[in-house]
Symmetry: C2
Subunit: 400 residues, 2 copies
C-alpha cells in the first residue's frame, strides 16, 4: 500500500509520542527529520500576539538548510514571556542534540492552551524518545499526524504525486486544527514535505500562493490563532531537474501543492469543532476582489447562517443580512442568492422555491452559497462550517 | 403603582394585539399614538440592506409632527422589493386613517423573518383592532412591549423621571432584540417616549449620543440587523421650560436619556438568545479610541471567549488572542488582563491566580474583563454575553 503520510516524500523520517503535556495521556510530541537537510519556507499567523514557537521559528526558517521540525500539542507556549522563548529554543536544541544538528537548523511549533509554561523536562525527555523511534514508514508518519492533534477528532493527511522532468515528485502534508480558525493567515499548524528539487525563494512563493487559496479561505470561528504555522520542507531527493525559475515545471509543482493544501483545508473544515457539514460561499458581481472576499467571509462567519446550516434551514435572509452588514458596495435591486442551483432571491426580491428541495441542499455534507452583489465583476470565495451545540460544549469545557 | 411602561410619559397611548403574522398566535402588532403630535428623532441600522419599514420611516421621520408609530413583529418586511415598500406605506396609511392623521405623520417598524411578504390584510385588520384598544394605562404600555417581541423571552421596558425647571419630565422606553445584534448601529427596535418640551434637532443629538454609549456598545452575535430602528417621540406636555439649546437643562435630559438607554441595552443583553450571563469589556492603554473600541468588540464577539464565559472558565488566553487578532496597536511586553479585580496576565507574562476565585468571577451574572494594551492612553468599552447551546438551538430551528 502506498504511504499516504508525511513520510511519503523521499528523505523524511517522522515520529510521535506521548510525553505528558496532555493530561489525557494522548500523543503530544511530534518530530519530522530530514537527515540530508531540506530547503524550508513557512507562513505564520498575522495575530499581533504570537507564540514563543512562532517567534523562534520565524528566525530559524531563514537558515538555508533545515534538518528537523519539533512540535508539541497540549500547550501553546503563548503569553509566556521570556521563559517561553527560552523553552522554545530548548525544544530546538534538544532535538538538534538527538540528530547531531545545530539548534538554528530546527524549526519549532506549539499548539494548545494559552498562558501556561511548557513542562520542558517532559518535552525534552519526549524528544529523546521520539528521536529513537524515527522512521520513514507510514505508521511513523501517522504517529506524527496524531501527535499534533488537539480537539481534532482524527489525524488529517494528504499526499500528491507528479512527474517533473521524468522524476516522480511527492508532496505530503499533515495538518491540525479544529477551532480558532479564521482566514487571512496560515491557519493552524500544517506541515508539508516534498522531495522536489526547488530553490528556497520559489518554495516560499509556491507555499504563499497555495495557502492563500486554501487554508486562508477557511473560517471556523473567524479568529486567527496566536500559533498558526505552515511549514514546507523540500529534500531535493526526487532527482528532478531543479526548479530554479517560474517555468512550466514550477507551475505544475505549485498547482499540485495548491491542490494538496485545498485537500488539507477541507479535511480541517469537516473536522472543525462540532461541525457536521461545510459550505462554500462564492461572492460574484463585486466591485473589487477585496469586497468579494469580505462579503464571503461575512457569510461564512455569521453565527445565524452557521446555525441555519446546522438546522438544514434554507434561511437565505440571514445570508443577505450578513452581506449587507460589512460595508461592501452592492446594488440592492440586483442582489441575488442561490443555494447550489436553487435561486432563492433575485434582483432584490424573493423568488418562490421548493422549501423541501432547498432544505435538502443545505443538509448535504457540502453545499455552495452563491451571492451576486450586482455591483461589478470581481469574485472570491470562502469555506465555512455549521455551528452546533457541540462547538459550545467543546469550548465551554476546554480549560477547566 | 407608578406606570413603568411606554405610556408613562404624558400624551402617549399604546396598544398591542395578535393579528396573525406569527403562526404561534402571539401578540405581533403594536401602536404608539400621540394625539397632540410629537417631535420625533430616530437612528437606523447601517446595514446596506434595509427593511422596507426603515426606508419609509427614514422619510417620514423628517416631518415636524409625528402622531403614531406602528410596529409588527413576526415578519421583517426585508428583501421584499417594491411590494414591501407599498406594504410599509399601507401600514402607515391604515394607522393614519384610524387616528385621523396623515400617513406621512406615522412611523413604521418591522421585525422577524427576512424575505417573506407581509400578510397585509391581517395587519390592517390588526391596526383597526389595536386602535380601538388604545389607552394611556400601564397594561396598554405592556401590551405594546409584548407585541414587538420575537425570540425575546420577556418584555423589556424602562422609565426615568427628572425635574426640569420645576416640571416633572418622564422618559419611557420599550425595546426588543435578542439576536442579530452587533454594535455601531441603532441595534434592534427600540421606542422611547418623553413629555419633555425640546426641539427636534436637540432631540436628535441627545438620541444619537445616548444610543452611541449604550445600544451601540452591545454585541450579541456581532451582526447588525436590516431593521434596526430606535425612535424617540417628545410630546412637550410636561410643562417644562422648552429646551432650545445645549444648556444645563439639555445636559440633564440627555444624561437621563443615556441612563435609560443603558438600562434598556443591559436588559437586552441579559435576554440575548440563549444567554445566561453578560460581561463588559474595557480596553485601556490604546493608541486611539477606535483601537480600544475595536479590541473591546473583538473580545465580546469572539466565540471562544463567549463559550468560556458560558462555562465559567477564566480562559484569559482567548481574550488576549482576540485582542491580538484585530490589528490594533499593542505592546506585547506591556499587555495585561484582569477579570474583575483579579490580574491574570501582566506585562506580557502569566500571573499566578486563584483559579477557583477567577471561575467564580466569570460565573457571575455580570463581570468585567479589563485589557490594557500598553500602547497609549485611549479607552473604550463594549457589552457582550455568553454563547450557549441554547443559542444554536434557537437559531437552527427559527425558520422551518
Amino acid at each position: 500500500m502506498a504511504n499516504n503520510t508525511i513520510t511519503a516524500a523521499r528523505g523524511f523520517l517522522a515520529a510521535g509520542v506521548a510525553c505528558g503535556v496532555k493530561k489525557s495521556g494522548r500523543s503530544d510530541l511530534g518530530l519530522i527529520v530530514c537527515p540530508t537537510g531540506a530547503k524550508a519556507a513557512a507562513v505564520f499567523t498575522t495575530n499581533k500576539v504570537v507564540s514563543a514557537a512562532v517567534r523562534v521559528c520565524r528566525e530559524h526558517v531563514k537558515n538555508s538548510e533545515i534538518q528537523a521540525v519539533v512540535v508539541n500539542s497540549g500547550n501553546a507556549n503563548t503569553c509566556t514571556g521570556q521563559k517561553g522563548i527560552d523553552n522554545a529554543i530548548k525544544m530546538c536544541s534538544a532535538t538538534a542534540e538527538e540528530i547531531e544538528a545545530e539548534a538554528p537548523n530546527v524549526l519549532v511549533a506549539s499548539t494548545g492552551i494559552i498562558g501556561e509554561q511548557l513542562p520542558i523536562r517532559k518535552i525534552t525527555a519526549g524528544i529523546a524518545r521520539a528521536a529513537a523511534k524515527l522512521s520513514a514508514s507510514a505508521p511513523a508518519g501517522l504517529d506524527f499526524a496524531k501527535a499534533i492533534m488537539t480537539t481534532d477528532t482524527k489525524p488529517k493527511q494528504a499526499v500528491r504525486r507528479l512527474d517533473i522532468s521524468g522524476a516522480e515528485v511527492t508532496i505530503a502534508g499533515a495538518i491540525k486544527g479544529a477551532g480558532m480558525i479564521g482566514p487571512n493567515m496560515a491557519t493552524t499548524l500544517s506541515f508539508i514535505t516534498t522531495d522536489a528539487a526547488i530553490t528556497k525563494p520559489l518554495l516560499k512563493v509556491a507555499l504563499r500562493r497555495a495557502v492563500g487559496d486554501s487554508l486562508n479561505k477557511l473560517t471556523v470561528d473567524g479568529h486567527q490563532s496566536t500559533n498558526d504555522t505552515c511549514i514546507i520542507l523540500a529534500s531535493a531527493l526526487a532527482g528532478n531537474r531543479p526548479i530554479v525559475s517560474q517555468c512550466p515545471r514550477y507551475k505544475r509543482f505549485a498547482k499540485v501543492l495548491a491542490q494538496l493544501c485545498d485537500d488539507l483545508a477541507k479535511q480541517m473544515a469537516h473536522d472543525a469543532e462540532g461541525a457536521t457539514r461545510i459550505f462554500k460561499v462564492v461572492v460574484k458581481g463585486a466591485a473589487t476582489t477585496a469586497d468579494a472576499a469580505s462579503a464571503a467571509r461575512a457569510v461564512a462567519d455569521y453565527p445565524l447562517v452557521k446555525c441555519a446550516v446546522h438546522g438544514g434551514d434554507p434561511n437565505w435572509g440571514r445570508i443577505i443580512c450578513a452581506v449587507g452588514s460589512v460595508g461592501v458596495k452592492l446594488n440592492p435591486d440586483k442582489l441575488s442568492c442561490k443555494l447550489d442551483e436553487i435561486t432563492v432571491f433575485r434582483n432584490g426580491a424573493p423568488k418562490k422555491f421548493d422549501t423541501r428541495k432547498a432544505s435538502k441542499v443545505v443538509s448535504q455534507r457540502q453545499h455552495t452559497i452563491t451571492v451576486d452583489l450586482g455591483a461589478g465583476k470581481a469574485s472570491d470565495f470562502c469555506y465555512g462550517c455549521d455551528l452546533s451545540a457541540e462547538y459550545v460544549r467543546i469550548n465551554a469545557d476546554y480549560h477547566t
